[in-house]
Symmetry: C2
Subunit: 338 residues, 2 copies
């Protein structure tokens, strides 16, 4: 039998999944970012559960208000990636003894702010005593089946595109955990990207309506990890021709002698959307995204060959499947679902 | 400001609720056992979240399989009390380091068994590392608005009825925690009532369809607590004329010089339904319950006066609002919802 320490989050989920009877005609397969239940009339009840745990998901300078808001945002981001409008949220709170009334108010306010930013409401929940701060959120929304963007539809020739630039949260986390120095304004912006994440909901909803997207995921586990997840689910590979590095992250990397490409690819807690789009529909997708005030940035192509490579400075590098996994310390940030 | 130790689960939920914007036209108010979202066409998406925490909800002799199954059953029981069929469940697992592959398999099997016993499926979830074992479940089901039994419809003159006899789990918990002695067979039955709870789902669904029920709740927090919750939500009181004590619980009380009425009223973790029914519809409700193989037992009446009294041995006693509350040790068992 495997010893406990070698069981990673992914393995645990695999073991649990193996014990579960499959719902007949499951509208969305295990392993995508959301689950669903048929409501009839081509409509699905879409559900997502994601758990924030204080000691693994909350940097030390993050307030309770920010942690509660983040717990909501990370769930909403998965709905964004699937093009589903979140309607209502259920909250399960594990609270350590010793929290004050003001602490609890902060948590309540953070939850509400997170939900209202995306036009959703907290409608119920539960609380219990726990050793860690635990905020488990379940999001519900109803959606037409054909508007939902899954992970498994990418086809060779499709364009890979992202909704923003990367590297800021990786830089921000490094500033917070390794106390690296930067000019005040940049430092604040980078830290802020960690403490105040945003989900690309209006972009995801607009893209879902275009029917132009063949596969989608959010980048909460890092750009590299997201590409690997789409590749695995769609049985394809990628050639990336453009490294979408944020300017401030670039500056941070230069000041601290770090590789900006590493920050871009292997960060995490960054809630951009990573999408594959049929070439002929790219303009439509670009327009829909632009209408929400965001720029869709093509960064490469889907390939039949199942490698994920990046062409960079006239060299080809392999993009590794690197991400953090709970229960393991040798990986950096990955969020997985049953 | 109140000091942490005085903040009970109920107060915490009140504080959180006070920070939340209310969803417009919320179909089920805060404080009932489930929450809901309008789906149009008189249909509601019904949701329930309940969290099992190892150290407060799992007696020491309960296996991981039983704990996982119980986490499902306690959620299903709330759907039973509302007359809503559960369709799909999402699971959020907080797992301590050190669990083996076999432990995780047990948890997965327990979750699946619990769901399949009630014809529902686990369709997704999340896992993270936590200091305690935490199993937070969210149940989803769609239901017609008029079939849902709420807490707030009891009217003076209505009959109070229950779906079974009480006291077994209180006795079983006492055997487990205080190591009290009983003949083997009775001892096993009483312990089993704690380790292998059942939700009255088919009874609840049948009763929901009769439209005879004016208010309903499960008795997971004890019969006394359930009566108080309906009384509070419906602005009524009760006169109880019959103490529905289980025979084995009675025997246990006699052998151990305990008050059987105390065991009956102030137990908990007992998943019977407590209902109020219009007098003229009682036969209909009895028949619907009998058709599921269960006996509906009238125990008293709803009163205009807001006390909850029990007539017993020609004396009248007050039924106290006693229940256990997490974060507090001076109360016995209460499960509350946001």
């Amino acid at each position: 039998m495997k010893k406990p320490k070698t069981l990673g989050e992914r393995e645990i989920i695999k073991i649990i999944q193996n014990q579960l009877d499959r719902m007949p005609k499951m509208p969305i397969p295990f392993g995508d970012d959301v689950a669903a239940c048929d409501l009839g009339n081509n409509e699905l009840a879409v559900l997502k559960t994601d758990m924030l745990v204080g000691k693994t998901d909350v940097p030390k300078t993050m307030s309770l208000w920010q942690a509660a808001r983040k717990a909501v945002v990370m769930n909403i981001s998965d709905f964004a990636a699937k093009g589903v409008k979140p309607q209502a949220l259920m909250v399960s709170l594990g609270l350590p003894r010793g929290l004050t009334k003001k602490d609890i108010e902060e948590i309540g306010k953070g939850l509400n702010t997170g939900a209202r930013e995306y036009d959703a409401y907290i409608i119920g929940g539960d609380t219990g005593e726990a050793s860690d701060l635990i905020i488990s959120i379940t999001v519900f929304g109803a959606a037409k089946k054909e508007n939902i963007m899954l992970r498994n539809g990418a086809k060779p020739g499709d364009i890979v595109a992202v909704t923003g630039l990367f590297g800021k949260t990786a830089a921000g986390l490094k500033i917070l955990t390794e106390d690296l120095q930067m000019p005040k304004k940049t430092r604040e912006n980078l830290i802020n990207s960690v403490l105040m994440p945003h989900a690309r909901l209006k972009e995801g909803l607009a893209l879902g309506r275009t029917m132009a997207v063949t596969a989608a995921i959010d980048s909460s586990d890092g750009l590299a990890w997201s590409l690997h997840e789409i590749a695995k689910a769609s049985h394809v590979g990628f050639v990336i021709n453009k490294v979408p590095t944020d300017k401030q992250a670039q500056k941070f990397a230069e000041s601290n002698k770090l590789d900006p490409t590493e920050l871009t690819l292997y960060g995490g807690e960054e809630y951009e959307l990573v999408l594959t789009i049929k070439q002929k529909n790219l303009q439509k997708a670009k327009k829909a995204t632009a209408d929400t005030g965001c720029r869709l940035l093509p960064i490469g192509r889907v390939t039949k060959e199942k490698q994920i490579n990046i062409n960079f400075n006239e060299k080809t590098r392999v993009i590794k499947a690197k991400g953090y996994e709970h229960f393991r310390t040798d990986m950096k940030n990955s969020k997985v679902s049953i």
